[in-house]
Amino acid sequence: MSSEIVSRPHVENFINWSKDKPKVLVLSADLTNSCEVGKWRDTYPERFFSMGMAEQNMVSFAAGLAREGFEPWLHTFAVFLYRRPLDQLQMSVAYPNLPVRFVGFLPGITTPGGVTHQAIDDVNVLRGVPNMTILETGDATEIESVLDVAHAIKGPVYIRMLRGEVSRLFDKSEPMQLNTARVLSEGSEITLLTSGITTEEAMRATKILRERGVEIQHLHISTLKPFEDPQVIAALHKAQKGIITMENHSVIGGLGSIVAELMAENAIGKPLIRIGLNDTYAHGASQKYLLNHYELDAMALIKKVEILCDKEFNISAEEIPSAREISVHSSAKVEAL
């Protein structure tokens, strides 16, 4: 699988996008360069506000700004947007349905920062928050186009954001669209739903699985709430052998749970296998290591497809197109986190 690697797409894109939007502000909690808005700050210093390491205050402050007609885009690591200031997110922002944008970096195991930095239950926590929209980026095109999707929503939006070196899996001419899955392959045996970085992993496996004769309907999901795309329900109905979800998140409360609820509500009685972190915290290591260690990678998917097909494909690791490796010390990141 070949895909273009893009270095820090958010940096210039966000600057250009903000140019004609004077109400767009950025609030940051001491992770400005780590969240790729250092140049944004230098370009629009009058619209950038340093709030220090004080996320509870930052979230309620953003609510005040939004109430007065501004559109604050909070940039920090995801864990510091939904864990520490959850009460502020709920009472100051979500209850009044204010247009605050929570740009959460380092979703799931995309960081060697370990348990303190890995947002593994953010979708689970925030799905239960009324008025909240939840988006997840899976490549450079989605990093670029998620801005328009969020901007069009009147209420609060939480974004699982990627940074650093990212693949461009989807053509620039096909931007993210709210509540609309991307159909990456058609097939009637297995329906596979993936989100975020797991889509790239899954694409490594689906190619060779198709070559072994497995028919896979692969959908990439970028809107986790709301979750009302009719294409998804149709794809769930279509699966003859079963359904697999794959997410860079706990299997509890994220994509897998959402799909399980949808299946139950639509009386779709089929096997469902949820790939994700199995109700566990992770630890600090490289993304490649963690994907493998926690069985979130291409090979893990192949094993689950074998279960649903009741068949072994004898695919060796060497046959799977190699994953691009992201160096822990990549120059596209300001620190090794």
């Binding site: 309620s60 005040g64 502020q88 349905n97």
Partner: protein, 301 residues
Amino acid sequence: MTNLDLEKVQKQANNIRKRVLEHTVKNNGGYLSQACSAAEIAAALYGGLANLAPLKAPLAPALFQGVPSKNFTEYQTGAVFHGEQTPTSDRLIISPAHYALVIYTALIESGRLREDSLDFFNKDGYNIEMIGAEHSPGFETTTGSLAQALSQAGGIALARKLKKESGKVWVFMSDGEFQEGQTWEALAAINYHDLTNVKIIVDVNRNQCDGPMDTVMTIEPLAQRIKSFGWTVDVIDGHNLSQMYQVGAKETFKPHAILAYTDPMKNIEILSERLPILHYVRFSSESEREKYREFYEAWNL
């Protein structure tokens, strides 16, 4: 303020206590000590301390219209009771939402809320609830989770500064909130961003849910602490209106905190029989309730 004006506001403050007492007796429960401590503060805020546009006529409470959502965007907040918002008018954010009854009675006294409104207080289906949220009269934002109001006010003040509006943002706070870490984050941020349009007035009644604050978690020396965060701090007698107006009108070069030290049993001295717990009054017996009823009937302030 002329002496005549001060007398009028003092009368309103007395009436706030009287109305809350009446209500507490009638309903066998209420946040009575908060009326004792904060009556002058609330009466002053609605009596010119905060620059709020007048209303043509008092508004009535309404049926609860639903929570804000994508299907309900024409949501009206309690700010309508504060008059038309203009670039020069002040905002008034009520932080301790459990002071709702004090705020509602202050709104009645200042001609912003209809006289009979307390008949609907805490009545199922109405917006004039026991703990106010932003649909309740006088509540511009949702703040009952303590300490969030000051940060919200900081955001509003920053927005108004960006829009070059001259109006101030007043925050009415309770002293217990200074136990919350977020309050200190907000104090630091408001000073750091030079938001001199923020003014807070704190009801320092030194009591909280579990009892006297010193037995729960001390916040003193409060003035010194807030000063060390870069604020201008004034300490006043929270029942002295002339002092309150004098200090409140002060132009400061730093964000301004007014610490109003108060008596949570002011004018209703029989509350001392309930010490050390004053947070919420629910009568322990019919005879206790009768005692308060008699106290109310003999009210002559």
